[in-house]
Symmetry: C2
Subunit: 220 residues, 2 copies
């Protein structure tokens, strides 16, 4: 995998040592998240909408109702910003000023194209589903032509991107370390489960293994 060029758009200005431009780091952050926040501008006003995403190579797949404002805007090829954030912990320092957050974030820029071809669209929907719920596609009713028509899928080619991360203990000023103030990190993580069966579940259908595997390691 290669690096994204540093430009005025993607350069991490504040605390540049926390910035990363390699695809491995950026895509790792993207792939570990269920949702992203998509930004677009309309008549100078910014809009930020949360949505599910999936990565396919150097593209981010977004899907939604064909009637949604976000999908129509994305499909029209206007510039988009796609941001993914994981909050890993609160960093409690001895000085207010040195408090921080441990996090991993990725900010991606690109433009979308609507997948119009039915075969490509179905393949993308399968990729999307299998990324989020590996094994689910073969266990459920697949989309009808009417459902496909009601669904838009947009592939956003990533033109530029960067990641920014912080980890580890607080960094305090040397003279503050002797203070009798507790300092350290309060980690945050995402917990899955327990599974809640649909009240209308037919009979005693157990939770399949492919869903049980979901409960480890992923994060919204």
């Amino acid at each position: 995998m290669s690096d994204f060029a540093q430009t005025d758009q993607n350069r991490v200005r504040r605390r540049p040592t926390r910035g990363h431009y390699d695809q491995e780091t950026i895509y790792g952050i993207v792939d570990a998240a269920l949702i992203c926040h998509v930004g677009f501008a309309h008549e100078g006003v910014p809009y930020v909408i949360p949505t599910l995403h999936a990565r396919r190579g150097d593209e981010i797949l977004l899907h939604g109702s064909s009637a949604s404002r976000l999908m129509n805007h994305a499909a029209a090829g206007h510039p988009l910003c796609i941001t993914v954030t994981h909050v890993d912990g609160l960093v409690l320092a001895r000085a207010v000023f040195n408090h921080s957050v441990n996090y991993r974030s990725a900010v991606l820029f690109g433009r979308g194209r609507l997948l119009a071809d039915e075969v490509e669209k179905m393949a993308a929907l399968r990729d999307f589903t299998e990324r989020l719920l590996p094994g689910r596609w073969d266990d459920v009713r697949l989309p009808t032509p009417t459902e496909m028509k009601a669904t838009s899928i947009v592939a956003v080619a990533i033109d530029s991107a960067s990641a920014k991360m912080r980890s580890g203990p607080p960094g305090d000023d040397e003279e503050d370390y002797s203070r009798p103030t507790w300092a350290g990190v309060l980690p945050l993580s995402v917990q899955y489960g327990p599974f809640q069966p649909d009240p209308r579940l037919a009979g005693n259908i157990p939770v399949p293994d492919y869903l049980r595997n979901l409960t480890a390691g992923d994060s919204p």
Copy 2:
């Protein structure tokens, strides 16, 4: 508390029954989150940046380095979109098309003003800290004049906002309920802890009670 007027900007178009415009619902979603995603547009290009936030009445407080692009853009009074999202669960339906996410999201629009007055700025920083870490302010070293100068605080007056939420089991098509496919919800929640003391912690300082209280109920 009152309602935000429904306009072209904040109206929930897709699935309007999931839309809410009352401040109680919207502010509840905002207050339960540690971070938001702030969108701004520069030369037609959208930028979406994650950051901590605090609400003070009908304003959202943002803080950051005086040198940051986001803070400078926010301080200049350009239109902002502030979005807060909680992912509460994966909704596993019997049809691909009916899969969904349980979530609570709030989308706020407004413009920022830089807090220039030192007294107002210190008060806002205190509000900010106490919102995120109640009790912390009195336990830490407060900001020096130099640190205050390096910190910008912007108050964003909320002009327009809406919330969108989904909860509960999947909604499948009637003819799909008899399928032998497991359906239901996989809940997601944020777990705090365990506390990680700074390796340079002076002596045997215990985690204070006000920090222990943090571990219940909040969510990034």
